[in-house]
């Protein structure tokens, strides 16, 4: 028996045809037609990819955004966005705009240090900034414009039952006037923006008639 290989032209052609047919079949199978919902999802995904370039997470005396900060860090980690944590100190009209407010500034340092720690845990680079403004909303809007932000992230607070802006006036103003997307974390019924998942159903409210 000869141990020399002498490929036959027919064999070569069949071998190539098998390879091409199998590869073409697999390619065709793995690229099925898309549905309307999938096309819409893809477009949204593209839009989001465009907008998430620079993210500002806002803190102030009333706006607690730690949970949102953690979410923003995860977002930045996946999307490679630039992250800026900003603490806005509201300067009363009775004081000059550059007044030294030691207590507030100290508090801002604490909050921003926490924000940095959250980012560090996920190995995300973050810049921090303390700004002073007459109104938190205007301060945030100016900062967003100056930094060319694509997304403002902030936690919400309830201002009071009879206020025209139940989520807080600052948040209402930012949400309606910002030129970029705004992501607001609204407090849950347990007083936290994110409440731990409960397996038990929520307690039933007692009937008014039998409440003493």
């Amino acid at each position: 028996m000869s141990l020399e290989i002498q490929p036959h032209l027919v064999g070569v052609l069949i071998a190539l045809a098998i390879l091409a047919a199998t590869a073409a079949t697999m390619y065709w199978m793995l690229h099925p037609p898309t549905t309307t919902a999938e096309r819409a999802a893809r477009e949204t995904e593209r839009d989001v990819e465009d907008i998430i370039g620079s993210v500002i997470v806002v803190f102030s005396a009333e706006i607690h955004s730690e949970h949102m900060m953690a979410l923003a860090v995860r977002l930045a980690q996946r999307e490679r966005a630039e992250l800026l944590a900003a603490y806005v100190i509201e300067v009363p009209l009775t004081l000059p705009p550059d007044a030294v407010m030691e207590v507030e500034q100290r508090h801002a340092l604490d909050v921003l240090a926490t924000a940095e720690a959250i980012a560090r845990q996920k190995s995300i680079e973050i810049r921090t900034e303390t700004i002073k403004a007459r109104q938190v909303a205007q301060g945030v809007l100016d900062l967003a414009k100056r930094r060319d932000a694509h997304l403002i992230v902030l936690g919400a607070y309830h201002e009071g039952k009879y206020s025209g802006a139940p989520l807080g006036r600052a948040i209402e103003t930012i949400a309606t006037s910002a030129l970029c997307d705004v992501l607001i974390g609204v407090q849950g019924n347990r007083g936290k923006i994110l409440t731990p998942y409960q397996h038990k159903p929520p307690k039933k409210t007692p009937d008014p008639e039998i409440t003493y």
Partner: protein
Amino acid sequence: MPDSVSAKKAAEEQPSLRRSVTPWGSFSWGYSDVGADIFVGLGLVLGAAAGASNVAFLFAGLVYVCVGLAYTELAAAYPVAGGGQYFVLRGLGDIFGFIAGWAVLLDFTIDIVLFAWSCIDYLSKLLPFLAFTAHPWTHFGVVFAVIAGLAWLNVIGVRESSAFNEIVSGLDIASETAILFFGFLFAFRPEILIHTMQSAWPTPFNLMNGVSLAIISFVGLESISQAAQETQRPASVIPRTSISLILTILIFALSYSNLALGLQPWTPIPPDAHGHAQALWHYLGNEDNNGAAVQVLASMIPYYGALAALYVPVLGAILLLISSNSGVFGSSRIAYAMSHTQLLPSLFKKVHPKFRTPAVSIVVFCSFAILELFFAALPSLSPFFKETYARLFRGEDGITFLGDLYAFGAATSYSFVFIALIALRLNDPESPRKFKMPFNIPFKYRGVRVEFPIVAVIGFAGIFSILIFTMLTHLIGRIAGPSWIILGLIAYLVYRKRKGLPVFGSQKHDWRSQQAQILKNAGELELMDEYIANVKASDRLRSGEPAP
């Protein structure tokens, strides 16, 4: 109170299957079942059809294309678990649904034994002490242990993961493409193929026998339709994965058979038991090698054969084991579905209290599989039975007996699926068919435009002829196959009579609401809208109302 009613209704609703099967997952679900068939079928067909094995595969392959197209259309139109049994139930009614499902159950039990048997045959190429001819008792014991082990794993709820299936399928496609590519590239000689076909052309009887065995290389496509309920966007994805599976398996089966007949072996072929030289097809089809023909063929390819001889037994054995396991899983799942539609007693939908698996179904059908194993292995275990089989059944060996029954079950259920497809085309023209079999004759039926599928008629003729070939050429299959169906049918009639259900007729089903719900659950909302619009339009047409 409406709220409490809806809450109660929601609580009563069964959790639906998660739609997590991707296009590749759907393909590999089918491939892990049907892809293993060529590992078993090649040797059996070469042993029966000799020089016309490629013709036998071509004939069975053409029938398989028709079967595949029918399943593709039905699975895309009715994306629910249950496969062929559901289509027949819906198209032809309860009793035919039972017969089709019962035939599929026969196939699944054979699937368990045949693939476990062949899995050990492949392993024996690396571990000679498992060889069937040299050590029949060891072979029998290990196959028995594999079946018992699979039954146990399925009872306690352990299955191979989808990811594992997907990886093995991917590796196997790459491996088989490589075997065929290098085989044709290095060692295929057209003159050997022509000479073998001329010199070893079988008798018509053997050719029919070969065709009836060749169909087993194509059984298992319905796994895709059984997973339809878990597939993402089934109406779009299933046509692609089914057609790809049809093409891939057809390419492999036709290529292997032609390669086996036209290969210039790289290593010498050992002489037969009488010391005579033998042709490659004969060597691959003899009792020593017919259970592991792909591995033996691969080892004969220049250069690549040395590598293939090492890994093909392992890869083949894994794929065959998965296929055997799909028989255990599939039989219990079909029995569970048939029990829900009251085609089988409620015993089969009993779930194990601890493991939450249909333990009764698993144990019952694995017991049937073990009975079949005994029947297949007896001639090799005892000279008395060898003599008896030789006298009564022309000396068919165990694996051929299993192959016969496998072909019988598949041909029976496929025949009903073709008839159901035609019936559904006439009675349910409203269901949107994102994929339709080609070549249809449009006409009006009960005032509505329907399309009559020509390919379904051709496919039915083809599969029915294979059923006839199986009955004509296999003595055991001729008795055991119809006996399975008749005994099952008697049990069905008794059960239905006892339960006060229609014995020969069907229970009432609200197919329209079910179909809308099926499409909604499938996430095919556009198709659901189309279906509802079609139903309204055909109702208007039938009642003679003008269009709005």
